[in-house]
Amino acid sequence: MSLRYFKNVRSVTIALVVVTAIAAATYATPLSALGLLAGAAWSLVNLALLEILIVALLTPGAASARALPRVAWALGGMALLLLGLAWLLFHLPALWLVAGFSAPLAVIVLKAASGALLESGAWRALAKSPWRAAAVVAALILTAWWLLPARSLGQRADGAAGAHGDSAVRDAPGLTTAAHGEAPGAAGEPAAKAEGEDEGSDKFPNVITLITAANHGARWAKALHFWEPIVFSLAVGLVVCITGFVASRNPKMIPGGLQNGAEMLVEKLYEFVGGILGHKNARRFFPLLGTLFVYIFAMNLFGLLPLMDSPTSNLNITFALGLTVFVYVQYVGIRGLGIVGYVDHMLGSPRDVLGWMVAPLMFPIHLMGELAKPISLSCRLFGNVFGEDMLLVGFASLGIGMLSFAHSPVGIPLHAIFFPLALLTSTLQAFVFTVLSTIYILLMLPHEEHGHEEEAQRAH
């Protein structure tokens, strides 16, 4: 154990404690963060003084004349520290002080454990292949994903319990306050706040709600919270763009990995759209339809990632998508049929007397049908994705409720059962959106093309 080891422990502890203190100030109280920092500082100074003492005592006798004042200095410092500790214990929450005090010790233990782990054979076997290591990292992230919402939702439930005068719960620091950084003194207030906020209080925490909670009341944080789905949808767009760019950057004759997957997806989608629209039209409409599928699929799945949220669980985003399809379909109709043909289509293509007689009736029906398309598209997507998110949140809070009698910070991950269902709905809804858009375009195309398309289909 050299001095360098102590230096490493010190820097790691400082980093760890600062991060934890920020989190504590966000989720518990500023006072608890102060207690944590004070405890860690006390512990670190204590360790440093001990180090001076040991070095001074163990140095060979030649320097003993200089060692004596050092020993005295260290001992005096430790006495002062003990006095300081007594003062701190009266003014700061004791539990957090102890946590901060034990932080350097925990770092030492963890360092020793990780040293032992790195030497072991199992670790070497894991680190041998990047895929194996990635699988382990993914498993760790998944575990964290189970634990994190449980923790945060559990705080909210306990905050509500504290409002009913359960003083035992209220006195435990860090458990009582809702995730908005309120003082613990008024335990009823945070619960009322959490109920009063209709937005963001009944879903998993994501990056933006965490940032907003950390900067409660700041203008930019409010703006970020307000634009949350748009920020996330832009992020998804960025991810899709980068993936597409990487997949097609360096095309090879024999594709591998990412390029293979991307090509397979595009080919299957193209075949599918071609099967409905006919291959001549598919070339024209595929860019929009394929983009819709990939984008919506990615957005639906984004909510399953830790600390992310699906933008499609917000009606505004899905309505924007539906409106895009609506405008494009009308454009295709007017472009392909001409103004006269478009009006004729809206009148139900009257060709005989009977047709002209029902035309005034058909026009409002067709108009309503057209206007209902974006609404039905967007409401279906929104309802499915949002309902699925609600299901996950509901079962997560159920799992927390099952352990809440023990004031456990972690719940049973009941919602994990529904991840496969969420995967299924995400894929299916992206697919349904694309299929319906394709059908709407097909309905707007000039009618004689149907015959061609059917012939083409019969031909192969």
């Binding site: 409401c379 279906r380 309802g383 299929v435």
Partner: protein, 79 residues
Amino acid sequence: MNFDFHAALALGLPIGIGVAAIGSGIGLGLIGQGAMQGIARQPEATGKIQINMIIMAALAEALTIYAFVVMLMLNKKIG
């Protein structure tokens, strides 16, 4: 007149969703039945039938989703 709006909403919303679910459940059952029979009689048309079945199922299911969305809109009014 002592009319409790909140209680009426709290009682009515779940019933509304249930009724909507009954309707689209019947619809989905009919669609599934038709598709399965079609596939059984003509297995080579499975792909086409499945695609159309999914579309129709989405249309039928959407009605429940509309009820769900309405519930979400009115949910906040239950005091």
